[in-house]
């Protein structure tokens, strides 16, 4: 192979929320950034809203307590769980709000400036979920702020989003918050062909992107909406690529049109991912779809697909099992650098996976804590306990120490660590360049 191409000041590995934040924050600090990713990962499968931290000190069923300011929740997580990324990065935790505002500012078409308190957003499972930021149509459905008379739309071609269950859950959440929400299920036959019930959600959403589709939907609903309806809550299919679908529908119906959070496969998740991609392009980040290999840490030479290039610094934001940053085929492995993987306090290897999993599915599961260990400067640690390289940083769920399904800090950690890692990588690259 020839001499490495001098392509990047900062190489970011992984293009989900953590990688995108790292790339954007490095670019903001003036670095030349190349972002390489294999494929879409967990961010595109996410609900489309950002969970930062609930209040870990109060009961999850105490909804009022879950409306805690995110900084306060994250600080409590850091206190209770020192191995959690918030705990490891305790000293920088005061910058959490700054990182969230940075994210919101990078995605102005999607997110409003975070309000500071968790919203309680309705899900298709009849639950509400605390989130710090959400897409505008999602945020409007905050159970603490929702108007009293809500209609929940069910598309008959999409029975998986069950309006009856959602309505019952919203009323229950209202009661838990000491307020009255009257939610009425409402069936729409807008998608009416025999094929429509077999379509994945992305196709239904794309059908609503077609010219005139939203107006036709509004025309179907408007004459039948109960009098006094103050908001209409829809399944999360309001627009596949059009980000103004909910706003336009609201204008046509004359009441706010809101969206449920989505499980995977998730249209709002893909919207979020695509908004990140647009922000990356706007910031002149070079986007490459290719796997990254690096044989000889701590050098700065990488194979990106079939390109050989050098970088002043790198950010590992390759995700966990879904993203492909960590895998377990008989044993745990970090897939790019072969960094040691930790689960719980132990270095994870080929131990029996059942020993890392509690019997109860909803428990905090140690096997899903698996990831690389970082120091206070976000540098992954090698087997000897020191940083694997002075110019390698980690961000997002490739970092060990938390099970995002259990502690609900997933995208918050991605934003916070991505933001900090990007800055640190830009600084390291700048020092190297001098």
């Amino acid at each position: 192979m020839g001499s490495p191409e001098d392509a990047a000041g900062v190489l970011v590995i992984g293009g989900g929320m953590a990688g995108a934040m790292a790339a954007l924050s490095a670019a903001k600090k003036g670095a030349r950034v190349l972002l390489a990713r294999r494929a879409l990962g967990a961010t595109a499968l996410s609900s489309g809203a950002v969970d930062v931290a609930p209040d870990p000190t109060s009961s999850p069923s105490d909804l009022e307590a879950q409306r805690v300011p995110q900084e306060q929740g994250a600080a409590a997580v850091a206190r209770l769980h020192p191995a959690h990324p918030y705990g490891v990065l305790r000293a920088q935790l005061p910058r959490l709000g700054e990182s969230l505002r940075f994210c919101a500012a990078a995605l102005p078409e999607l997110f409003a400036e975070p309000s500071g308190r968790n919203a309680l957003l309705p899900t298709p499972m009849g639950t509400v979920k605390p989130a710090a930021m959400a897409q505008r149509a999602q945020l409007g459905a905050d159970a603490a702020a929702l108007p009293e008379r809500v209609v929940v739309v069910q598309f008959q071609a999409l029975p998986s989003c069950d309006a009856r269950l959602v309505a019952s859950g919203l009323e229950e959440a209202g009661r838990a918050l000491g307020r009255t929400i009257g939610a009425t299920p409402f069936t729409s036959a807008f998608f009416r062909t025999v094929e429509d019930p077999h379509r994945p959600v992305h196709e239904l959403a794309a059908m609503l992107d077609a010219d005139g589709a939203l107006e036709a939907l509004a025309a179907e609903l408007k004459p039948r909406l109960p009098a006094g309806t103050q908001a209409v809550l829809f399944p999360p299919v309001l627009g596949r690529t059009r980000l103004d679908a909910a706003a336009r529908l609201s204008a046509a119906l004359g009441v706010p049109c809101l969206e449920l959070l989505s499980t995977a496969p998730s249209v709002p998740g893909v919207r979020l991912q695509e908004a990140l991609d647009r922000a990356l392009r706007a910031a002149n980040v070079e986007l490459v779809e290719a796997p990254v290999r690096c044989q000889d840490l701590p050098s700065s030479r990488f194979e990106v697909g079939d390109r050989l290039l050098s970088a002043g610094a790198a950010v590992l934001a390759s995700g966990k099992f879904l993203g492909g940053g960590i895998e377990r085929v008989g044993r745990f492995r970090e897939t790019v650098f072969g960094l040691p993987v930790f689960a719980g306090t132990q270095r994870a290897g080929d131990e029996y996976v059942g020993d890392l999993l509690d019997d109860r599915v909803e428990s905090d599961q140690v096997a899903f804590h698996a990831g690389v260990r970082i120091d206070e400067s976000l540098r992954p640690l090698s087997a000897d306990g020191g940083p694997a390289s002075p110019s390698l940083f980690a961000a997002g769920s490739v970092i060990r120490g938390y099970d995002p399904a259990s502690d609900k800090t997933g995208l918050g950690v991605a934003i916070f660590t991505g933001y900090l890692a990007g800055e640190a990588a830009a600084a390291a690259a700048a020092i190297r360049a001098r």
């Binding site: 499972m125 639950t127 029975p159 959070l261 377990r328």
Partner: protein
């Protein structure tokens, strides 16, 4: 309430006896503490095989199983599927086999040849001797060290549905079928006569007493516990059998292998998956706390790797275990224990009116049930012949024309095909449901091609008390995604049909998701780690199920 016969246990024997007794006009009550087929009747290999293995010790067991298996085929034809097996006759040097290898090969062919005598009972084909090239062509994944291969014909079945249909038929003939009702004591009369049972409704906690002239304990691995409540002893030697489920049909045929200890194990295609089975180890623990260990998984994988090397790359979805209800014997290896069944009359032990039936095979459940119902009929002086081999189970009347149904109802043919497999003639009723409500046309479980209409049919017709029961009716959540996509929509549907509140629906959902997880825990690896992350993401990151609901 006064019954002629109270049946304790909703496995294949319990539902089989309830059906037979009800058909003979006995006023029958069947009690099951969970759902039908929750124990060994739902955790077996899913075959009504004749038991070629038992030819060596129990020729009678093989004969009975083959004969009854033939009857089962006739009463529930839609639920059966042929699984041809291959016995690979391997050798370290196929050109020059050792004397021992010749002995094993010869012996295997003799046994398979004897088994041919019984095959006509169950519409099985006689064995064929295959050249190595034939075997490699039929089954490309097999290790290339064969001297020859032998074919053997067997039949697969959905055991959950077999029990469901027996219970449904029993109810149609007038039996009272109560699932989620646990017996916690016996009512006694003069002379210790067992006159009934005390029952607790596991869902509501409500207690009741039912009177019966006779009580039969067919609680499988729980039989000793049930008998103990009446002060009598039932001895069994439960053998734990572990299976693994793969995400797809890995092999074209069933392939027999021998494990490290020489025991026969197999990998076989079953419905949309492949199944590896099975272990057989004495079990001394609590039948309610049956767990699969790392050792058992490794034992099976090592054994299959022996003939099917690529097994190590396969995606294992989950594990499951059941307890064989083998009769007690001292001094025998687990494998050599008889699979015979036995009926005990506890009169001599001071509990007249109480019987226990133990042991036996899935493939001979019907004749075992007939045998006991004969005993009960004699005791009750009822003179009605058994008709369970003559009258079909619900849906067995005819097999629908799948392409025509798919065409006329404009439903995908694979979806109608699975529907017809599970429900036989009743698939037409399910299509009618789909036609009546467009929302019911949608797929609920994409992995198993279960439609909303099918789930609604099961909810309305098949005695579904809890969401987890749907898994045993229409394979909900049994495919590769393990419920990541279908569990929550199914909970919503269940809540809608049963008019449950959102918190009740969440409790059902968490229960379903939790039950599925227990089987995945011992084998989580490879791509299933990513699938699990997604599953957790849906239910806990987004669905916040752990955050909102106290466990129901």
């Amino acid at each position: 309430m006064q019954f002629d016969l109270i049946v304790i246990g909703g496995g294949v024997n319990g539902t089989g006896i309830a059906r037979d007794a009800a058909m003979r006009g006995l006023k029958t009550l069947m009690l099951e503490k969970r759902d039908v087929a929750s124990g060994a009747s739902g955790a077996n290999s899913g075959m009504i095989h004749g038991g070629i293995r038992y030819l060596r010790y129990d020729r009678k067991v093989t004969e009975l199983a083959c004969i009854d298996s033939g009857y089962i085929q006739r009463i529930v034809p839609h639920l059966l599927f042929r699984i041809p097996f291959i016995y690979p006759l391997s050798s370290s040097n196929p050109e020059h086999r050792s004397l021992y290898e010749r002995y094993v090969h010869y012996g295997t062919e003799v046994v398979v040849g004897i088994y041919d005598l019984y095959q006509p009972y169950k519409r099985g084909l006689p064995h064929v001797r295959l050249s190595p090239e034939d075997v490699y062509e039929l089954e490309p994944g097999i290790r290339r060290n064969l001297f020859a291969g032998l074919s053997m014909d067997e039949w697969g079945i959905d055991p959950h549905r077999l029990c469901t249909l027996n219970a449904q038929s029993a109810a149609r003939h007038g039996a009272t079928v109560l699932t989620y009702h646990q017996v916690h004591g016996f009512l006694r009369g003069p002379g210790g006569q067992v006159t009934g049972v005390q029952v607790r409704d596991a869902r509501t906690g409500a207690r009741a007493e039912y009177h019966g002239k006779l009580v039969v304990n067919v609680a499988g691995a729980w039989s000793p516990k049930v008998a103990a409540m009446a002060g009598v002893t039932v001895r069994m030697r439960p053998g734990k059998g572990v299976h693994l489920t793969l995400d797809r049909r890995l092999s074209n045929y069933g392939v027999i292998s021998s494990a490290v200890d020489g025991r026969q194990i197999f990998v076989m295609p079953h419905e949309q998956t492949s199944i590896i089975g099975t272990t057989d180890d004495d079990y001394y623990g609590d039948p309610d706390d049956l767990r699969v260990t790392q050792d058992e998984v490794e034992y099976l994988l090592e054994g299959i790797e022996h003939v099917f090397p690529s097994i190590r790359e396969a995606r294992i979805l989950r594990t499951w275990a059941g307890l064989r209800t083998t009769l007690y014997e001292y001094g025998q290896l687990e494998d050599a224990l008889s699979r015979e069944h036995a009926i005990y009359d506890h009169a001599a032990e001071g509990a007249p009116g109480l019987y226990t039936m133990l042991g036996g095979k899935l493939a001979s459940y019907r004749i075992q049930s007939e045998e006991f119902t004969d005993v009960a009929s004699r005791a009750l002086k009822v003179d009605q012949p058994c008709r369970t081999h003559l009258e079909v189970l619900p849906g067995g009347e005819r097999f629908p024309d799948v392409p025509a149904l798919a065409e006329s109802y404009r439903l995908p043919e694979p979806m109608v095909g699975r529907m017809a497999y599970r429900h036989g003639a009743n698939a037409e009723r399910i299509c009618e449901l789909a036609a009546s409500d467009p929302a019911l046309r949608a797929p609920l479980c994409r992995c198993e091609q279960t439609s909303y209409a099918e789930a609604v049919y099961c909810l309305r017709e098949e005695n579904v008390r809890k969401l987890t029961d749907l898994r045993r009716r229409c394979r909900l959540g049994m495919g590769p995604c393990q419920g990541a996509r279908c569990a929550a929509p199914a909970a919503a549907l269940f809540a809608r049909e049963r008019n449950l509140s959102s918190s009740e629906a969440r409790a059902e959902l968490l229960d379903f998701v939790g039950a599925r997880f227990k089987g995945r825990r011992p084998v989580l690896d490879g791509e299933q780690m990513a699938q699990e992350e997604l599953n957790r993401g849906n239910h806990f990151t987004v669905g916040n199920l752990d955050g909102s609901a106290p466990r129901g």
